[in-house]
Amino acid sequence: MRKLSLENINKLFAAVAEDKTLYLPVDQSDGSAKYSKWAEGTVWSNALNTVRSPKDLFFPQTEDLMEFKTEGKNIEVIDIRKESEDFVIFGVRACDVKSFEVLDRVFLSEPVDSYYASRREHAVIVSLACSRPSETCFCTTFGIDAINPEGDVSAWKTATDIYFKANTEKGEEFLASIEALTEESDDTAVNEQKAKTADIMKKLPLADLTTDSFGGGKTEELWNNPVWDEFSQTCLGCGTCTFVCPTCQCYDIKDFDTGNGVIRYRCWDSCMYSEFTRMAHGNNRLTQKERFRQRFMHKLVYYPENNGGLFSCVGCGRCLSKCPISMNIAKVMRKIGGDK
């Protein structure tokens, strides 16, 4: 385990940023944090997490895919793909690290999404263990260990120091690149903090939330559950939950007419929107109830059914904090699962 005094954290950032682009949570003017590019003077946020998830760095909200140029009857297809630059995402929480696995299964299965794959290949994930989880946190429900986050490198921050441990080859390389700044250390301080955090995790109000009622094969059982009617009644149909969600991965592909050609781009889409799944024959989800059901069934039934039981919710709690009407997956799970 390598150790660095927090007094020298900016030296570490400077060293990392010398040959790789570095992203880390930074406070914005409204007080919330956002993954931002590090530059001299950038201050690492103390926030538990960012409003927007780090999925943005692999799967941006809008992205150009290709261009077409037309001349007479000829159409030229221009491949605008570029190899991603090398970058480091620093301070990723365990829930968000897990979200990359959820996204990988979608974007890296055949046919591989080359845009996503390139960024994923060139990224080093430095995770950060939680020590002050929020009441909205429920990662343990999905078997995620906030105290021992995955990623290429895991980090633990105490009041005075930060500790690093490599988990992958990329992680070893990262630690080698900052070796001069860090010193070897035992894990006493880290273990003390882990024990404290473990106690807090048990006291979280959502600690008893389970996935027992969900998983592959539950479609028929849950399809007509009255919860969809009841809980979708006041859903505004906005896209907040899907856009702050680290695992929502639906997108739309559109063409932008430039006058002498076309730029084909994709942008995030939301199953909450009325035009989502609109096809030539019309739309098969005509009411907010159907859209609402889709979102939760996807996270809790369809995705695990197709991905070996892995749920596509990581319990980060962003939707719990941000839904304008405070309706969310935890409430849906409680209602269906019954109070334990």
Partner: protein, 330 residues
């Protein structure tokens, strides 16, 4: 802290439901942590007794729900309206957006609502909240019980409350208040006093956080188009995501124009914004301008009033005056 209690509202709801006055109740449903309250439609006494709550986090404006909820309704729906909600209620009636006959409106006095973001900036790990006369006592994961003064977490729209007067109801609970000479335009005046570059930088910074989730539009009681142009693939301007930060300005400015003269300044747009963008300031700028150019006008103060922008009087401002005014403002 609210003077009207949960128990009073439950008694009222149960009474109106059981005597057949209404067949459904639009109210607040309890959440996991006391502050995460969801608007809900209750149809049984049991649901109301078990799940109905009312506290300082019941800020949601129910007026807009009436557009959808009255459409297929048998009988009437009971809606609880805070003073500011009654303005939206009237404005929607002015625009013929729902059938008044299908609604039983109970107006309730309001002491101002709390802002969850403000509370969370003060307190970590909120488990539950006890509302006492002097302050709210928040039970937390980390710091035991924390005393939080109501004034310290009062929502901006309530600090600058424009009116405690209930302008529409079938029945009033609690005391009716008065229209308030609030300081709600002070922040607009501060922005007006900026140079154009400063003002541009201010809005660029705020709007750059927009994730185009449409929560502002979807919560807005003035946004009740059956199909918004931004959702309509045939409109030519449909877009689900921001292409650049300028486009976000376009979206919000177009929306502000669209609701100009109809916005009652209920503040829902800013409350629901996940990125804490002070969207209400755009609308307040329009309200302030309308007041200054055409005389004081409050949308929703009564049903059927003609907003200055859709009315003609001989004393109306000439286009040239507007142009000069814009010039001075730059």
């Amino acid at each position: 802290m609210q003077k009207i209690t949960r128990d009073q509202l439950i008694t009222k709801a149960v009474e109106l439901l059981s005597n057949g006055t209404v067949s459904a109740v639009l109210g607040w449903q309890k959440g996991e942590f006391d502050y995460d309250i969801t608007p809900a439609v209750f149809t049984t006494e049991e649901e109301i007794k078990n799940n109905f709550v009312y506290n300082d986090f019941c800020g949601a404006n129910f007026s807009k729900y009436l557009v959808a909820k009255t459409k297929k309704l048998e009988g009437k729906i009971l809606v609880f309206l805070k003073p500011c909600d009654t303005y939206s209620f009237n404005q929607l009636l002015t625009e013929h957006r729902f059938d008044r006959e299908k609604v039983y409106a109970v107006a309730i006095g309001c002491e101002g609502m709390a802002d969850v973001v403000k509370l969370k900036n003060k307190v970590d790990g909120i488990i539950s909240i006890d509302y006492k006369d002097d302050a709210m006592y928040v039970d937390t994961l980390y710091d035991g019980t924390v005393k939080v003064d109501y004034a310290d977490v009062l929502a901006e729209r309530c600090i600058n409350c424009k009116s405690k007067k209930c302008v529409a109801y079938d029945e009033l609970m609690g005391e009716d208040g008065e229209v308030i000479d609030s300081a709600r335009f002070d922040e607009v005046a501060r922005l007006e006093a900026m140079t154009p570059d400063e003002r541009f930088a201010f809005w660029q910074n705020e709007l750059s956080r927009c994730i185009r989730c449409n929560a502002c539009r979807d919560a807005c009681p003035a946004c009740t188009c059956e199909k918004c142009v931004f959702d309509n693939p045939n409109s030519g301007v449909e877009n689900k995501a921001p292409a650049n930060s300028f486009e976000e300005q376009m979206f919000h400015i177009i929306r502000a124009y669209h609701v100009a003269g109809r916005c009652t300044d209920c503040g829902e747009c800013s409350r629901v914004c996940p990125q804490n963008i002070p969207l209400h300031l755009l609308n307040r700028k329009f309200i302030k301008d309308i007041n200054e150019c055409y005389g004081e006008y409050q949308a929703g103060a009564e049903v059927g009033s003609r907003a200055p922008l859709v009315d003609y009087t001989e004393g109306d401002l000439e286009p040239g005056e507007v142009f000069e005014r814009g010039d001075n403002n730059a």
